[in-house]
Structures are given as C-alpha cells and as structure tokens.
Symmetry: C2
Subunit: 149 residues, 2 copies
DNA sequence: GGTAAGCCTGTACCTGAGTACCGGATGCAA
DNA sequence: TTGCATCCGGTACTCAGGTACAGGCTTACC
C-alpha cells in the first residue's frame, strides 16, 4: 500500500505534476503523507479533488474561490447561508450572466462595424457614420448593476 | 505652440501617464517630438488614437492586435483582404460568439447546480444526481471547431 | 531667480495560473 | 547494487496589461 505518487495522481487527473505542488501551496490540496524518503503519497480521492477543482475553474471560479468552496464543504455545510456552494454558484451565475450581456454588446458593435465597412480605426473615429462608440465605450462590467458593491 | 504634454494627453484620454510610455514601447503610439529639454510633445490627434485603442481593447482585441490594426490603417488599406479592419472584426466577432456560447454552457451548468441544491463539491462529485460534469468538462474554447489550428 | 509641479529614464512590482529549470536525493526493478 | 526514472525543494520565468517608485532634470509661474 501507501498511496499514489505525485506523477501517478497528476497523470490520472490530467494535470502537470508541478501543479500538484502549486495547489498544495495555494491551499487547495491538503499536505499528503510522505514516504520515509520524503516523497508525497496521495490518497486515491485526491484525483477526485483535482477533477472537482478543474470543474469549478471551468465554471468561472478562481483558485482562491475554489479553495474557499472546498473549505466550506469540509467545515460542515449549512452554517451560514453565504458559505454554501449553492449561494456561491448563484452569485457566480449572476457574474457570468453579466459577462455574457457585456459580450453581447461587444458582438453587436463588431457586427455593426463589419456591416458599415469600417476599414481604418483612426480614420473611422472621425467619421459620423462609424458605429464604434469611441467616446462612450465603458470599461468591462461597469454597467447594469446600479451601485458598485 | 508645440503640442500637448504627456500629462495633458493622459488626462484627456483618461489613462495613466505611465500608460503612454508603455504604449510607445509596445508600438501603439509613435514616438512624439520632444522639447529642448527632452519632454514629449504630442499632437492633438494622439488623444483620438488613445480612444481608438481603448475602444478596440473593449471589443476584445489584444494590444498586439490593436498595434497591427493601427498599422494596417497606416499602410494604405485594401492591400490584401486579411489586413483590413473589416476582416479582423469579422474574425474577432466569431471569437466573441464562441466565448458567449461557452459562457452560456457554463451558465446552464451553474443554474442546474443551484437547482439541484449541490452544497459540497467533493461530496457531489460522487453523487449520481449532481449535474456538474466533473469528468467531461472541457477546457475553454476546446469545442465547436473541429480541428486545433 | 526661486520654487513647485511635472516630466525624464530605468527598473521593479502587480494579478492569476501555472510552467521550467536546477542540483541533489529517492524508489524501484533487474 | 547499479542504473534510471521519478521526486524533492527552491527559484525564476511565462503571458497581458499595466502601475509604482527612485533619483534627477525641465518647465512654468510669480
């Protein structure tokens, strides 16, 4: 027995072996047991944890957020309402929806630019027919929510 | 006369003065004339160029891409079809559309997770009812285009 | 001509998520 | 027991798009 070596875990989860140490530093993976010589020996469930991390990242969570999510799961869930995955997923969903709306505005602008046949940005900027909103263009995420939280 | 000083240009365009030097290094802004003492003196149109840069960034172009776009505009347009703003805007539009589709998949997954009431990622990963696709989750942008270019 | 604000160059730092390299130690199989 | 793959730690680097700081010079106004 003993456990899986870092290379095995990395291969099984499809990540770079260095990433395991990185996640350990970041608090996403618990420090595993060691062999007598100091090599890491992981329990099999580490592979699951890694898959979970990758899935959460895919859903838009940062590593810090993933670390909190994992922690929230470990410390008995349901303590206070913000801590759970459900609430955070809801918040992240809102974020993603805002981002989608933002990109849709951008797509609309690009479509208009293509249609209008703009072919030189600097020249265009002075023309009245150019659909690109040079002056009023907002930084990403600046709109749609009334107050900055 | 002489031109605008860097602080004036930066203020007029709403950017950090350091950013002007940064853009100059990156090839987005031409090297301006200097005063006898070595201070930069910008023509008024630089403010327009900065606004254009910011607008293009907002539309999803990287600074390298913006530099190319500006260059393409300067070197007489219409040479070959890829070079123009129109073609690039079309390509960028496709990129943005892919990103939107990707985020919509993510939003759908988050909605499903909220609805299913998942509350602990690691536990969830072993449950059959959990809607989060841990195993099959793809890296961003991996789908929808058949071959990796 | 004095003084303060502004500008100069060069270098270092920031975020986020890793990846790469180094010299040395360990694990495992033949 | 030898040899080689793997792993160790620590450090440095990557990408993108800036931002900050230090130490010194210039400009502008009174």
């Amino acid at each position: 027995m003993s456990g899986l070596r870092s290379g095995q875990v990395a291969a099984a989860a499809g990540v770079n072996p260095q990433t395991l140490r990185y996640y350990e530093r970041r608090g996403l993976l618990a420090e595993p047991d060691r062999s007598l010589g100091g090599h890491r020996l992981y329990p099999a469930e580490t592979v699951t944890v890694l898959r979970v991390i990758k899935a959460a990242q895919r859903l838009g969570f940062t590593l810090d957020e993933v670390a909190e999510l994992l922690d929230a799961g470990r410390h008995r869930h349901g303590r206070h309402p913000d801590a759970g995955l459900r609430a955070r997923a809801q918040a992240k969903l809102t974020e993603v929806e805002v981002k989608i709306a933002d990109l849709q505005v951008i797509a609309g602008t690009l479509r208009a630019a293509v249609k209008a046949g703009c072919d030189d940005l600097v020249e265009c900027a002075d023309q009245p027919y150019c659909p690109i909103p040079f002056a009023t263009i907002a930084p990403p995420g600046a709109c749609s929510t009334g107050s900055p939280a």
